[in-house]
Amino acid sequence: MSDVNVLPELKQIIGAMLFVSKQPLTLAAMRRTLAQVAEKEGGIYRDFGKATEPLLAAALEELKVELDTRKPGFHVTEVAHGFKLENDVNCGPWLRQLLEKGRTAHLSRPALETLAIIAYRQPATRSEIEAVRGVAVDALIHNLLELQLIKVVGRSELPGKPWQYGTTQAFLEHFGLRAIDDLPGVEELRRMEAEQIKRREAAQAEATLAEDEPAQIETEGKGAPEPESEPIPLDSGLTAGEVDEEDDAADVKKRGQS
């Protein structure tokens, strides 16, 4: 047992805060708490009040490594812009029994698709989401709101001032994401944009060449996706499969021109 009169180490304070906290805890929140205690209590607590975020991050890292080495069945994880303690996933079956949780419910594909559209396009109105899915999403939005995976984040300037939806903290926690930028495609997106510009330039050069030649019979090829006319919006999940499709588009173009 630790003595009440013995000052804890910084990493112990952090560990204790994580232990009692239900929400992911940010470094800023930890620093604020330490500063508040220093001001209120003074004396021996004053030193902790000077802890900077890099210092806290270092202490947290130490704690993280310690837990990872000793493996007490839980670990520190970074999620939803903060840190929290989480059980090791291989202990799940016993916890499920202990907590009397049934099988974890999963979201259906249509719900996940709607959620993905909101996540990448936020703030997104209902009609924007429907434009992508091609079908009414009222019921799905209602369910996602109820599950608190999405929330109303504002109103659009469009006629009728429709609600705009965005993802919540709970969304990040549910999927174990640190931030929205963790979703795939954000980085790739920039690369794709650069590629599109390159392709557009190439296409323009080809178009100039084509003018000198007699008309092609294969009109279908001309109708095939030409990024320069209307680029496919790319702020979406660009996984490996997508890259292939972009390649397909290029192939079709080549076929059309050959």
Partner: protein, 242 residues
């Protein structure tokens, strides 16, 4: 007589889902859709859903009309097609292709999210404060799509119209009976093939009842329909709900 069991099934999939499903199933190039073939199949699936009295979104019919329009435009030589807006493409399919490709990206993103969800299946965090989705908010067609099921249903119907058309008096089958029968079969067997539920059936009416029973059981999470790989055989197992 027993009132017919009405299956209140919301269809959350839309026309684009159906089109992407058909494109994948037929293994055709999304950038070069054989519009005639796909339209025929699309209409066939709509007919099936109508027959089942599913809550069919009007969007399905709008898309059917769009497909027909594209089809008729493609029959015309390019110089005789109606005047286009300046920014419109020569290929009447292009608008649709763009929409499909965009949607496909989000479908892939959804699969990524699903993977994350699976990884975190056994994580509960502090005081079990997992963002536990207490009830699945909508129909649990996660493992297979409605269209996968409809495809088997379609095969079963086709078989019967070839073999046996001598349906003289209406047999009395109800969805409720079929629900009972399927549940009992799953007490004895852990896993059965979805198609096998239809093999012994001799009338259209019975097939429809059986199919609706399966949909209802899936919705109630009494059973699960799973598939090992895309377009593989669909298996039916007992579900999560007790």
């Amino acid at each position: 007589m027993v009132e017919e069991y009405k299956v209140q099934l919301e269809v959350f999939e839309g026309p684009l889902d159906l089109l992407l499903y058909l494109i994948k199933k037929e293994e055709v190039d999304i950038y070069n859709i054989p519009i005639e073939r796909v339209t025929t199949q699309y209409v066939q699936y709509i007919e099936l859903m109508k027959m089942l009295d599913l809550n069919l979104a009007g969007d399905f019919l709008v898309m059917a009309a769009t497909l027909m329009m594209i089809k008729s435009r493609m029959l015309l030589p390019p110089e005789e097609r109606p005047e286009l807006e300046p920014e419109e493409e020569d290929d009447p399919r292009w608008d649709l292709v763009r929409q499909l490709v965009e949607y496909k990206k989000f479908k892939d993103a959804a699969i990524f999210l699903e993977g994350l969800e699976d990884e975190r299946d056994g994580i509960f965090g502090r005081e079990g404060a997992n963002v536990a989705l207490e009830a699945r908010p909508d129909m649990a067609l996660r493992d297979v799509s409605l269209f996968d099921l409809l495809s088997v249903f379609n095969d079963a119907l086709k078989k019967i119209s070839q073999e046996d058309l001598k349906e003289i008096f209406a047999e009395r089958f109800t969805v409720a009976d079929k629900i009972e029968a399927i549940t009992q079969r799953l007490q004895r067997e852990d896993r059965l093939s979805f198609a096998s539920l239809f093999t012994e059936l001799s009338s259209r009416h019975e097939i429809v009842c059986t199919f609706l029973a399966v949909l209802e059981l899936i919705r109630l999470r009494q059973i699960r329909a799973v598939q090992d790989h895309a377009f593989g055989e669909i298996q039916v197992t007992r579900g999560d709900a007790e």
